[in-house]
């Protein structure tokens, strides 16, 4: 350990000392109230790519154009006046109204400025579900994006290793958190049991582990074909 004096990173340090200490929000209005200043900055910087800004229960939501998500998040992360360096959560929302687009939600925090911002983008039904990945900006987005893909089938373009995370790789029933997925599963109990019993334990090796072992070439031909042929996950 070096002898240099240690200074911890304090949250809110970039906002300056004149910034009042945060307090518990009280009597938060349903709509309206103070807007996160980053929303205005985003509008000034990106113009058309910002579809709408909502403030619901004191939280600012910025709905952005799908194609420019990565660019916008990178700017929020890098700009010295924003510095959203912490990605709290990435998730998606599908509504019971099946016509309504699926929303992908990013919850970002700026530790230097003590700000919280919700970014959203809309994925209309009937089109391929894909959004740009923010993995290259936040490493913490790795599993969050994989989980979102696993549960909703939304492809995060640019994610280096987008595979199932909570469900197993041979899971065939679809995407559990979609509204057209029944709570008890798409297959009957007997079919689920049959598939579980018919599982070949060999197939639990993922491609990644096989490439580590460099043993792929030594596998039996049929297994090589099955794994190498890229059995489609889900769907």
């Amino acid at each position: 350990m070096s002898d240099a004096p240690f200074t911890p990173v304090l949250a809110g340090y970039a906002a300056g000392s004149e910034q009042p200490a945060p307090v518990t929000p009280k009597n938060v209005p349903y709509h309206g109230g103070p807007t996160n200043p980053s929303a205005g900055a985003l509008k000034a910087r990106f113009g058309d790519a910002i579809v709408r800004v909502d403030v619901v229960w004191g939280e600012t939501t910025v709905i952005v154009d799908r194609a420019r998500v990565n660019e916008i998040v990178r700017w929020l992360h890098d700009d010295p006046q924003q510095r959203y360096d912490y990605c709290s959560d990435i998730t998606a929302v599908e509504f019971r109204d099946l016509e309504r687009p699926i929303e992908v939600v990013w919850h970002l925090r700026s530790i230097p400025f003590r700000r919280f911002l919700r970014l959203k983008t809309l994925l209309p039904k009937g089109q391929p579900l894909a959004v740009p990945s923010v993995y290259d900006i936040y490493r913490g987005a790795d599993w969050l994006e994989r989980e979102c893909y696993d549960m909703f089938g939304i492809r995060f373009e640019g994610h280096p290793d987008l595979r199932r995370l909570l469900m197993w790789e041979q899971y065939k029933e679809g995407f559990p958190l979609r509204k057209d997925f029944p709570m008890r599963g798409r297959f009957s109990r007997s079919e689920q049991l049959r598939q579980a019993l018919a599982q070949n334990p060999e197939t639990r090796y993922s491609m990644e582990e096989l490439s580590i072992a460099e043993a792929f070439e030594d596998l039996p031909a049929d297994m090589r074909q099955r794994l190498g042929g890229g059995e489609k996950v889900g769907e």
């Binding site: 350990m1 240690f6 990173v9 304090l10 949250a11 809110g12 200490a21 945060p22 307090v23 518990t24 009280k26 938060v28 349903y30 619901v56 229960w57 939280e59 939501t61 360096d85 912490y86 990605c87 709290s88 959560d89 929302v93 509504f95 019971r96 939600v105 919850h107 530790i111 003590r114 919700r118 490493r139 913490g140 987005a141 790795d142 599993w143 969050l144 989980e147 995370l165 909570l166 469900m167 958190l177 997925f181 709570m183 579980a196 019993l197 018919a198 599982q199 070949n200 090796y205 993922s206 990644e208 582990e209 580590i212 072992a213 460099e214 043993a215 792929f216 030594d218 596998l219 039996p220």
Partner: protein, 437 residues
């Protein structure tokens, strides 16, 4: 002395499963030279690991993985080159189930995800639901919820400290600290009737007010608990074996920790003084006097120091909460969300209607969404709820802190020894119930 000769008929067999998952046995025989060979041996199932690197599998059933976590490690000698975690063995679809439940019916599910922090999860969930309903809770309820949150922080850190000691090879502090945990559970039991799955909160209030004399128990606990923490510290902090097995392991710098999305003691051990209670306060935490411990090196030893210090700070908060606990009602006076008393529900028409509508339909929040994060013992625990105006949420999302913390394990164990993987994994404080949900 007479000796007996026994012939043991051992069924020598190789493992293998047939297409229906039943074990398939292949008899073994010896050839002329005495070597054991298989009759009609099937083609080798295991890949032949050639080269210098070895692939090793830990879990999913292994006591040191704290649940059902599977780690696939690529080893060069005894050094970890790569680590691939596999999760999902405990996935039970809480988020999906929550879409079919009313808000108060979801509270028992929050007990069961991070089951070491049940009261804290209950508090976090109802804070989110109350934001969605637009409810302001009473002053007494706020203080009771602070007490519940801090007690649950204490039990969670107690479990962490005990199991971490076991993982590293110290046994005594495990017994000492688990006795204290039992005291907290006994207190919680007298409050809400359950030890582990507490469900202590309701939207708009608590399941019940604390029983008579409960504050005396708590005061007694607050007075005596720090001594046990101090004893454990005496045993561990300067212990040569302890220091040797924790210092310098799994270090994360401040920038890395923020970029990987670590939170809670993991983030603070890396030198980032970010605590949701201080920076995005809830339940009037800004009015309590407590410190946020921060580590320097971000290694396993700093995580231990931060958590032990947090135990002491939680005791400080509990002391202040005991002093300020005001009298007055616990639940909000709004029978659209809080059930009227049973006596009134059977005698008063209006109360009966409220009772009926609440039980049959459930309270309905307006259309909207809320993300409320609290500082759970593991880190930033967030509940994101979206309402479409019905009594059941459209989406209930848990932001699990140990899920994000665990996703950094490939980075943390890289270049360390196989035995240190156990220590690093234990230092994350994972609860698989929360990771898989």
């Amino acid at each position: 002395m007479a000796t007996t000769k026994r012939t043991v008929d051992v069924e020598l067999s190789t493992t293998g499963l047939d297409a229906r998952g039943r074990p398939q046995r292949v008899p073994l025989v010896t050839d002329a030279a005495g070597n054991v060979v298989t009759l009609d041996a099937p083609p080798a199932l295991e890949p032949d690991l050639e080269g210098d690197h070895m692939l090793i599998n830990i879990g999913p059933q292994h006591p040191a993985t704290h649940g059902v976590l599977r780690l696939v490690l690529e080893l060069d000698g005894e050094t970890v080159v790569r680590c691939i975690p596999h999760i999902g063995y405990l996935h039970c679809g809480f988020e999906k189930t929550g879409e079919y439940r009313q808000y108060n019916q979801i509270i028992p599910y929050t007990d069961r995800e991070d089951y070491l922090n049940s009261p804290g999860n209950n508090v976090a969930f109802v804070l989110g639901a109350e934001r969605l309903f637009g409810i302001e809770i009473t002053e007494r309820c706020k203080v009771l919820r602070v007490i519940a949150s801090e007690l649950s922080r204490i039990i969670s850190h107690c479990v962490w400290l005990g199991t971490f000691c076991i993982d590293i090879g110290a046994f005594t502090p495990f017994l000492w600290i688990f006795q204290q945990r039992e005291r907290v559970y006994t207190m919680l039991e007298s409050w809400c009737g359950a030890r582990l799955t507490t469900s202590v909160t309701r939207v708009g209030g608590m399941i019940a007010d604390i029983p008579d004399g409960w504050t005396d128990d708590l005061a007694n606990f607050v007075r005596t608990f720090p001594k046990v923490v101090a004893e454990c510290e005496t045993m561990l902090s300067k212990n040569a074996i302890w220091v040797g097995r924790t210092v310098g392991l799994g270090a994360m710098s401040a920038d890395e920790a923020v970029n990987y999305g670590l939170s809670g003691p993991m983030l603070r051990a890396s030198g980032v003084a970010y605590d949701v209670r201080k920076d995005f306060p809830y339940l009037d935490y800004e009015t309590y006097d407590f410190d946020v411990p921060v580590g320097q090196a971000g290694d396993v030893y700093d995580r231990y120091l931060v958590r032990v210090e947090e135990l002491k700070q939680s005791v400080r908060i509990l002391e202040q909460a005991l002093k300020r606990l005001p009298d007055g009602p616990v639940n909000v006076d709004d029978h659209r969300v809080i059930l009227p008393p049973k006596s009134k529900a059977t005698s008063d028409m209006e109360s009966m209607i409220h009772h009926f509508k609440q039980v049959m339909e459930g309270p309905r929040p307006p259309i909207g969404e809320a993300y409320v994060a609290v500082e759970s013992p593991k880190g930033e625990k967030g509940y994101y709820m979206v309402s479409d105006g019905t009594s059941k949420p459209v989406r209930w999302r848990i932001r699990p802190p140990s899920f994000v913390n665990l996703s950094a394990i490939p980075k943390m164990v890289e270049g360390h020894l196989l035995s240190d993987v156990i220590a690093i994994n234990a230092s994350i404080d994972i609860v698989m119930g929360e990771i898989d949900r």
